[in-house]
Symmetry: D3
Subunit: 316 residues, 6 copies
């Protein structure tokens, strides 16, 4: 038998302890039978701009009480396919970034060693780097990266190589992801210099600016993603700032002119069939969203991704 979320049809959604999707909380040491683990990473030590993503996991848990069990379009029933649980938060402190990155990596190594597919909620975007270090297992993974920003800077603030603006440059340099099987969707915003994206392009990353996304639409872009990523294992990372600030104001570096939430949902549905071995949703910063829409959107996207992950489980 598998874990089932507490149903909002039985216990009101505002009741009970807030866990991801109202799933049981299962500490990692007891998680032998878990297929997909929802994990919070309350850390924003890589943030060069507005802080607050450390508070993301809690509010996404809270808002995820509004989710239900079955995907309305694909019909996927993730909790019947996969044994899911809230694995709690990574124990990570906000002061020393190097130690924090090591803690995250260590946690996800344990996740990997138990063959749990991780679906994480950040935290800022730098958390993707230690996750990739932990789960790539020497393979260069494909990467579907939905974001306003390419996050392939070399350095930020003159001298810092590990910030939320650099994770995918580091990941490529470290051989964790394959730039030719990397696609970035939703990219926009003014640039520091005209060659900001040149390095990314030179590596072979496929960049889909927001204008192309709007002009071609989610369905066609979905096909491009399928083409770029192919059949090999891949990772999915969703920076909530891919959404327009009207849909997700609570984020560290809001960038005007993004996707609507529905466009993001349909884009994700276009990724069915890809072999994701893990995913994250990052940069939810509750202090900058008085209405809580950002965390609600994030919770909804986590459910969309959960359905993607569940469908492609080996046993599914």
């Amino acid at each position: 038998v598998t874990n089932k979320p507490l149903s909002g049809a039985i216990v009101p959604r505002f009741a009970g302890l807030a866990t991801f999707m109202r799933l049981p909380h299962v500490p990692l040491q007891d998680a032998d039978s878990i297929d997909i683990g929802l994990i919070g990473i309350p850390w924003d030590g890589g943030t060069t701009n507005r802080a607050g993503a450390r508070h993301g996991p809690r509010q996404v848990r809270e808002m995820s009480s509004l989710m239900r069990n079955v995907h309305p379009v694909t019909g996927v029933k993730p909790y019947e396919i996969a044994n899911c649980a809230d694995l709690g938060d990574v124990d990570v402190q906000p002061i020393e970034p190097a130690a924090a990155l090591a803690s995250i990596e260590q946690f996800f190594r344990a996740v990997r060693d138990q063959d749990i597919v991780p679906l994480s909620v950040g935290g800022d975007h730098l958390v993707s780097l230690p996750i990739l270090r932990a789960i790539s297992k020497g393979r260069r993974l494909g990467l579907v990266h939905i974001d306003a920003h390419s996050d392939t800077n070399d350095e930020s603030l003159g001298r810092c190589r590990y910030t939320h603006g650099t994770p995918f440059r580091r990941a490529i340099e470290e051989g964790l992801i394959d730039p030719t099987r990397t696609i970035q969707i939703g990219i926009r915003g003014s640039l520091y210099a005209e060659d900001d994206l040149e390095w990314a392009h030179r590596q072979g990353i496929r960049i889909v600016p927001i204008e192309e996304f709007h002009d071609r639409g989610w369905a066609e872009v979905g096909r491009t993603v399928q083409h770029v990523i192919g059949d090999a294992p891949a990772y999915l990372t969703f920076d909530i700032d891919a959404l327009d600030p009207a849909f997700a104001p609570g984020t560290g570096t809001p960038e005007v002119g993004g996707m609507s939430a529905l466009e993001a949902q349909r884009l994700l549905r276009g990724l069915r069939g890809l072999r994701f071995i893990g995913a994250d949703v990052v940069e939810v910063s509750p202090p900058f969203d008085p209405a809580g829409n950002t965390a609600l959107a994030a919770a909804t996207l986590v459910f969309e991704i959960l359905c993607l992950l569940a469908e492609k489980l080996p046993q599914a």
Copy 2:
């Protein structure tokens, strides 16, 4: 002569007592000559989720001060066709739901008996049930239902048959609406179980999920509505959560991925000619919207609907 709203070109919009559309407040007992009555129903006793819709009528009144007199696209001048008034709020207490439903029904019976077309502002969606009981007069009405949710559950919270998730199941069971002349637009969101909508489908309800709405567009969907509803009397109910939370965060069960406000406006304009004998806009919950956008959107939709109702008055 008919009532005219206080003009924002003469008295500033922030001045004066807040009534719907800045119309005179006319108590029901003095409303003999009123054609269309705007009515507040400050009640959220059917809410299984986030409370607060009891505060909806006041903030919609406040925001409706921003409305003017003439429809910018259709040119309809509702206040020249119809004698309109703010009939005040239904006197309804928040503690005992059965008594509250009876009070609402009684109020709308009096409205009906004075041949006033009711245009109500909720309150949660359960208020549509006693309204329908009061005004259906033994006919099975057509229903245009714009919403994120089908609201045709049998029970909520294990045992409750009268909640904001069940009104239209009850209305069909009670013979108040004709399911084959019912259309639900904007439906979305994860499901409790794969057969959540099966009962609705079996009754013959036409469901237009948000994806179909987006793909076909408001104009085509409008034609589908015309086709489903036909010429017989119908009721229009608009749950503000049909809008995306970016446009309407202040609601009880926000559901990511909805309509934009403009899409909703244009959808409504596509309903011209239908024989609506009443309408409501429900689920505006001000405590969850610090900017007040939700009530503003609701006030705008009330004006759109008022134009629809005025055009089809017998004397119009």
Copy 3:
């Protein structure tokens, strides 16, 4: 050994699932060894005014992460004296008040039967009634009632006998509390009629209006409480609206002119030695407090009360 809160000196306060005081969550069926149980009652079905107290337990849990282990003035270390746990929320639905009151009573009977001292977080003030029904065991308990309102109305809204304005009238009528061992502190606010408090006075309730509280001070009033309550078992109920809205805006019926938080803390410290067999903190309504101060104040008062309860445990 006893449960210990997760220390903010080890794991950051914003990390981890939010439980009361960061204590382990122990379901009631596993709570044999628990001395003091922290319990959420997410229910506001007795609220005649602004709704939202149903969301209280979650935000108090969230804010209670800021609490630590040792009382700074009395030196009490509750977690060394008492085995404490978060027992979760009472499973209570928002639609049918009578059923909800029965559910609450049933839960607290089970708590009582396991000899757990309950420390509850509401929820609106009507929740105190079913708690008292469950734990009074035929004794008439003393009552320390800190509140802006006496809550001894006979009826609200013309006809409702069970609302958050009536619990202590019902409790006296039902023989659950002894009015001559009842003291109400902080009472204020305009009255419906000059005899609003007459019934309470006639029963022998000692009312300390806010003006008397300010003039005599927390220390003297504390002595009055000791005198009124004496040595017999008593219950402590703290309505957060006893605090001024500057300190606690998020509540159902805010009343200008209340206590400061520090005055409330010191008043509670003056209650050491009383034989409380249970307590609650109620009427925290997060939607009306954008800064979260109300829940923070409530969490702090819960800690103050926890220290009172722990000191007087039989084994302490």
Copy 4:
């Protein structure tokens, strides 16, 4: 018979159109029998700092739904002594200040001519000037002025003689108030120049800085007020910024270090017996108060003042 507020014990407070104190709205032309008229002045054209007091009357009306009928300390029942009504808002436009001041004066002349005692809600503090012009009737009135600021500047912004910083200088120059029967309480805040208050002192105004108010207390200061004002007719003006921003953040020129709400209430109670012929509460600026505390405090102070006015009506 006199008008009675709609009782919150019968109709929920969140229901019905928002009028001051839930009193009937009586247009000035129908107000023959009214003793005390509550009047909104939605105008902030004299504001040199943060705008928004134009929105004050609406939110004070909204929050005044929380008031009841009988004073809890003095026992005064204003609605049994005096026939009260909400006279609506002065029709005043925000663009041309001179015209606006003329409109206000004209409205209050009509109020005076009907022997109605005006109790106004601003609007910024400049509104007191046209009120005084209308009701002073050639007498030099005493003035009880509770405020953070003396508002006796000669000019603001280099050249403007009519702003919310100058009304009482103008009123003295115009012979509307008697400076030797004027007392200003709660004055604080850094000064433009050391002689900012010199003019006021030279006129004989008694200034009670906040420090003196705190040190001597409301009771003693109340006696000072009685002494300064004496038996002759006087006007009472309460700038909400007299309260500390913790109690009233929503105001144009917040000044740290003010009164608590309870201190203000008790100060007002110390003014019983003075012959006030009118009063106002001004500078409530809702856009700067997300929790609404400021308007709630203002509504409460309006009730306190209403009791003062009612007690001293000729027929009382």
Copy 5:
């Protein structure tokens, strides 16, 4: 050499004094070498509705810290083409509108006399009038006007000829703009009377209602703009309420059903090549936007417009 913004890649965006685009502040008297001047106009004395645009320049400056240097689509590098600076705010007082308009005109005459292209941030829309008076130099300018409202009323509030609803009627009457080279895009919202826009149409203004904008799209509408405006000098004015309130809630007269931010950006990009001699972005009212999205959108649009202006500088 030209001024360069402080780079967010070197100094964090939240650091340093907030100037427009993090450019140096250069007082007008030292601005000899400046090509494009960013100017704040903290004035809302023409506002007939919700106040607060006086606070616009400060929050737009704050949010403009998030902008960078190079346009992501056109590749324009404004700071390499043009010497830009923050010229500070116009010294303008909020009390006397006529004096304020004169101050604004005087400031922009000085700007014009130094051959600086002004890019202003309001303030309410009436500020465009004195700007046009200062810079039109006897030519009748073309006008690209993006807005929810036509702002060609004759009078507001019965008698006021100079409000934020009248600037372009006055500008045409004064011969400052050429109505046949004027295009208004995004117009929507209910009307006071059916002939509200008749005067505008009779002058030859091309009005693109929001429905036409949506149906034809930004690219085609851009071509229409090019056709209407032609090669002669023109002015660009962007009222932030052209955006839907979901994207820009913080404005004086929000109008449901507007553009998305991305649509606005792309519309602006379609205006490349036009000979703009100045521009403004107006009606940003921070008190009505708790999340700050409105100012962020405005800052982004200012950057878009800056690129347009820089490209067409004589020396560019």
Copy 6:
């Protein structure tokens, strides 16, 4: 001649670039003649709890526009005694704490070398440590420390020695301050362990818990401070969380039961005559304060402290 703030009596407070106290911005290299430098430290890398103090300097600058020139009680005119300027923000990045601390120290060494008395606005409380390192010049300074917390922990989060909970332990260990001339006022809040403050007590620090402060009052406690500090040079550090969260919700570790703003002001006035060679106000975290009260309180306290510093300048 000395710098004078832009007067709010001449230019509206909402106008102009926001600098501390509306003083001119003078970069450090041009600051030869400056006596007192106001400095922002936008850094919260030592925060173990809620982030956001990095945004403190900007909002304190914004709110400091409300300050004026002359102290209302002491009559001190700081800008006539001392040449003051806004020296801008320390250039400090948020990623690497050690580098950040070094940057801060370096900046304040330059300040010290120019004989400028620094008055800083944080930033979190760890910033006091590098300031003390820079300005102590080998002397052990006295310390007046107003705060809810002692900040003398040895480590936080298990292993971090440099956090906002440890600065004064490090400062004592490094010989920067003299514990026997250190006084901490306002201390409160539950403890991790009963010996949390033992180290501090053993060093000879005089701790005044909030209860003692309330019981003895600001005047007596001021005398105690004078006694503890004596005549030798001292530093003043004010953590805004010394204020109750009702007065200052926007802070990293809010602690219920604190001072009122007026008590804090009067306490500071009791420190006249002490030889402060620098001061800071820290822990203002704007994202947690939707009304902005916290920054306003901080700006007011900065003015109070500025008066203290100015009076004791060597040349004063």
